[in-house]
Homo-oligomer: 693 residues x 2
């Protein structure tokens, strides 16, 4: 297209400029942004992030300007190039594990080495023998081989036991035959497999003498190390475009009776004895339970920052965007920033509150997990000698672990749903421009969405939570002594059930949290009644279980949020104004949630009808007003660099319109083509070549 | 990549085949699919659709196989080629307006002629003088010029009065100067403008002798008719990629003091007298009000079928996809189709119900609109002579029109939100595969999303509804006689308010609808109290207004849904089984909604706590069970051709896995590249060329 003419380049947005509007916003609040940022992330993390951000910005391959325009193939190739460059930088700069993870997060796109660095290496390290690790892990660490983790199949996702790929032991030549007997047994969705990997850890049903020993991991070469072509009788490729995640080559993989040597079966815990042809076990991978808990806890914390990106963009843009005069304002008044409209505030401010609530909750989960892991290994060393000795020890390690595990399931489900749905709320709060890729929210949302499905589908997971809560209820009903927070709140509910409760949810923060505990307890005993007393089919209760899990997770979030803010207050890590706003954000999240779930709170007796009405019409509306002036500083405190956000609408300097225009007028490749617009020209496709004019 | 090997081509999915599973589903219900389809669409519409579908399928340019793989530029060029071909077919086959609209809908993608055919021509026809129509409309009809409608600007969307583009009358040479004084005055989001149009109807502030006369339409040439290059001092282009709608070239447009002749200003209603240099009016475009009502009514009806596509895909796939055994089932049982899980049913079946509810509601809105238009023109002819004469005449045409207008706003907001959010629910109900573009839901959702923002933003619109309801409340409080359904229900509520109500929402369909009316009335008088008595600021009530509008729309939907099913029953258009299922779908939609909005029903006194609990735990769960066997036939009745759905998961023959695999293995262009996977190779981008191997 013709380059942007000079007369266009001289134009400015009308009225108050974006940077002036954001400056005015920032002047309205005294929250010390940097202090709050340090409170969230620590100084060390911020410094590391800033250092690496500057480095990445200076590297041409990480230039983002064409990201939103590129088609699938180009995006994938660039993503792979970035992955390669990251590994070179890692070596050059001698990055620590944390440095490298920070860099990956800053690049902010799913990369084709994703499954190599994580599940491929983790599985080799965790389930391979020393010999196997020598063979593959050392090469994998140097990227001399690239791997992936092939579990999910076309016909089976969640149900691992249903996997169809087989690995049959051949007694004669001491090999395994990998085979895909059905179309549905094709490995599918396997990250890094489509184009990148030349090795795969393949989960297959181990069969010895016609007997199945269940899903077992095999490390298998799938492509030639030089030509990168698939090996014989292996069909492998990319599964095609997705709603997001298109920088990743999720792949498929089929085997046609492929023989692999004995060493291929990862044999730390299970093995086949080549002499006796017998299956054997040595120990069991006990940490899997813990690892899943850990992974889910990171998802909770990540959900806060994932959502914070969308909230940062929407809050800043809604402070810059003005539309209509206030209906009650005198005529001739300037247009109002849309952030002043309560209908915008009710959508965005509870999400700001959610970012902090999820961050604090995730952090507390991870702290508890680590403390418990440390204690468990200590207790193990001491032969459980001290068990029951001190007040903290009344909660045994394994009870705490089971509680943590259930909480991590419930919280993973809730937090990733809040983040995914919240991002879409942010996108719509940006009005029409939210639909442009330049908003930065849509692409980010699309890439985040799978989190609601993987590491336990958000619906499926709630069954695990319900199972745990039902078990806890049984223990309480049997009169057993509470061993963790869950049995504690259930016992309290049981003892007060007849008397009822009288929580001052609007006036007392403790009562507010207790009301959430009351509602979970009520729902737990209801579920227990349906399942254990009335013997209702499990399937008939799935909807109840889903709600129960959600209620449990919401209780965990408000509880952890309050503790975190109280801890900040008492440790004087933050000034009074910050603590005051954080406390208001806690209340906003809790009361807004309470109001949304009003009928459950009411039915459980945790709240009166009047309280639920008051929560909305008075408390929540008042909190919106109080928090509003701090909105921009609160999102500033998340500390996202403009390069990270890659959003016209979310720019820290408010130059929204300049940036939108620049991208459309200077970067957009569609403007390089000139079409023939006439149906009757007889030319369906051919562009008018500029040279012929 | 290597072609799919023969050993792969011979593979089949394991277990029961997709077509067997769907056949079994269809055998479980006696609903006559074709009859129900005719009831929804009429025979005539179905025949037209089938005829045109076959024609389009036979035309190479409409081949969809690369749709999900193509990048933006290719998709746009193909979309334009399809648009051209459609116009040629229209001529060749002498298509009626309905034929042509059906063809456009069947192609199912936003096309670059979209704004030419609609707003450009409609505005010329509606606001141009005969001379202007001769000059532009006749050419536009023959596609000798291609136009668009340029209203929205970078800085102004909803607020038309705030537009910044100016059209200044030049007394000396009798021309207008179009000018874009600021960056924010750039036209933006203008469909068909980016690459396709060579003309635009431009909305600009008319200025005569320094005085502004408000936004006024001008028809302006913007590109050369031969070279298709922008004219001098015009900067025009495509605004870049979006979350969806990427087959459309939404554009920007700036003017640098561009002079256009006097004829450019569309002068049917307003004009500038070139002799006196004075602004003049001749009548006013009264039909705009009605047109918007009509457009919104079509959106309501369309919402039903838009959602039905997603629901068809998800329902069929969930009948084919099996995962886990039922927990209560004996060991060794085959895996259960996920549609048997209540957690899947509670997500999908209320959406099936919503498709019918929205369809019937939209249809009834359009019928009422047309009846009223006809009556108004009749009444007008007869000088309002008959007003008040008969029982139907107690509702005057204009009161009915105001009521229809408010209902169309409320319903547009609700129905497009239900459809957009429902599509995402459908996508997630498909589990992991829902994320693949081949599911067909993601791309469809992305293209539909703007409907929640345009023709009145779904949040903004609710203020108009509230304004109308507040006005109606005032009228009732003054003791005025009810003139339409709204004032009728408000009056009834007023008269029974003290006594209270006792609706049997679970046992009586009429009571169920009345409970919805009661809740709207309660919320209306609450809002009226806040605004008119307590004098609360308008801005403080926006959240209440949003809820009020939603409640009003939900009442309209359940009311219209019940009437429609009752009409079908009494006219014996359908057999008993069909009527029975339609009635259950009505109840499912109504009770599920009631339960979701439980606290409002409870607070208003429309329901007791016990009823709300019963609605969920008994009534809704029972309805899921009753409707479940009919699910596949119900979605079959929407009659979507596989070519239209373009979905692996939603295939009518259940060949889900075969289709997923075919697209990935045979159609996916990413599999044509072979990468260099090693960071240390020193090659960031270069592919390994196959020829060099």
């Amino acid at each position: 297209m013709s380059p942007t003419p000079d007369w266009v380049k001289q134009l400015k947005p009308s009225g108050a400029q974006g940077h002036e509007l954001l400056a005015a916003e920032r002047a309205n609040s005294n929250i010390p942004v940097q202090k709050l940022e340090e409170l969230l992330h620590t100084k060390e993390v911020i410094q590391r992030r800033n250092k690496i951000t500057e480095l990445l910005k200076s590297e041409p391959v990480f230039d983002k300007s064409q990201n939103y325009f590129m088609g699938r193939t180009d995006r994938f190739e660039r993503a792979l190039a970035r992955e390669k460059r990251l590994r070179i930088l890692k070596k050059q700069h001698n990055w620590s594990f944390e440095d490298f993870r920070a860099a990956t997060e800053l690049v902010g796109e799913p990369g084709p080495y994703g499954l190599h660095d994580s599940m491929f290496m983790v599985t080799l390290a965790g389930q391979g023998t020393p010999e196997q690790q020598e063979k593959w892990l050392t090469k994998a660490e140097k990227y001399e081989i690239i791997g992936c983790y092939a579990q999910t199949e076309l016909g089976h996702g969640s149900n691992v036991r249903g996997l169809e790929t087989t690995a049959t032991w051949n007694e004669d030549d001491k090999t395994f035959t990998l085979h895909s007997p059905h179309l549905t047994s094709s490995k599918w969705w396997i990250g890094s497999l489509g184009r990148t990997a030349n090795h795969a850890v393949v989960m297959a049903q181990l069969i010895i003498k016609g007997k199945s020993y269940g899903p077992t991991p095999f490390c298998v070469q799938i492509r030639d190390l030089k030509t990168h072509e698939p090996l014989e009788n292996i069909h492998v490729g990319d599964i095609g475009p997705k709603f997001g995640y298109n920088t990743m080559d999720n792949g498929f993989l089929l085997f046609n009776h492929v023989k692999v040597p004995h060493i291929s079966m990862l044999a730390k815990y299970t093995h086949v004895d080549p002499n006796t042809n017998k299956f054997g076990r040595r120990g069991a991978p006990t940490l899997v339970y813990g690892t899943l808990t850990w992974v889910r806890s990171t998802i909770v914390m990540q959900a806060g920052s994932v959502l914070a990106r969308g909230v940062t963009i929407a809050t800043r843009y809604c402070a810059v965007r003005r539309q209509f005069q206030d209906r009650d304002a005198p005529a001739g008044e300037a247009e109002t920033p849309v952030l002043n409209y309560t209908m915008v505030q009710i959508r965005l401010l509870p999400l700001i509150a959610a970012t902090f609530a999820l961050h604090f909750t995730g952090k507390s989960m991870m702290d508890m997990y680590q403390a418990n892991q440390a204690r468990m290994s200590q207790v193990k060393d001491q032969g459980d000698a001290k068990r029951g000795a001190g007040p903290e020890e009344t909660e045994s390690g394994s009870d705490l672990m089971a509680d943590l595990h259930a909480s991590s399931c419930a919280l993973k489900s809730l937090s990733s749903s809040i983040a995914a749905e919240g991002l879409e709320v942010c996108r719509r709060a940006c009005g029409g421009h939210g639909y442009s890729s330049f908003s930065g929210i849509g692409p980010w949302y699309s890439d985040y969405l799978p989190t609601t499905t993987w590491e336990g589908d958000n619906y499926m997971l709630t069954q695990q939570v319900a199972r745990y809560l039902l078990k806890s209820a049984r223990s309480v009903l049997k009169g057993e002594r509470p061993t963790n927070d869950t049995t504690k709140i259930l016992s309290e509910f049981q003892s007060r059930r007849e008397i009822g409760c009288a929580f001052d949810v609007i006036g007392s923060d403790k009562d507010l949290v207790d009301a959430f505990a009351w509602r979970v307890s009520f729902l737990t005993f209801e579920a227990s009644k349906h399942r254990d007393t009335e013997k209702k089919p499990w399937n008939d209760l799935l909807v109840d279980f889903y709600r129960l899990s959600k209620a449990h997770a919401q209780y965990m979030v408000v509880k952890n949020n309050l503790s975190a803010v109280q801890a900040i207050a008492s440790s004087s890590q933050a000034n009074n104004e910050t603590v005051d706003v954080l406390m208001k954000l806690f209340r906003l999240f809790a009361l807004h949630t309470l109001e949304q779930e009003g009928s459950e709170f009411y039915v459980s007796g945790a709240c009166s009808k009047h309280q639920i009405m008051l929560a909305r019409t008075n408390a929540v509306m008042k909190l919106l007003k109080d928090i509003r002036p701090h909105a921009v500083r609160l999102v500033d405190a998340w500390g996202f660099d403009d390069w990270v956000l890659d959003s016209s609408l979310g720019r820290a300097d408010g130059k929204v319109y300049e940036d939108m225009f620049y991208r459309a007028s200077e970067l957009n490749p569609l403007n390089n083509i000139t079409v023939d617009p006439y149906p009757e020209s007889g030319v369906l496709f051919k562009r008018i070549e500029k040279s012929k004019l």
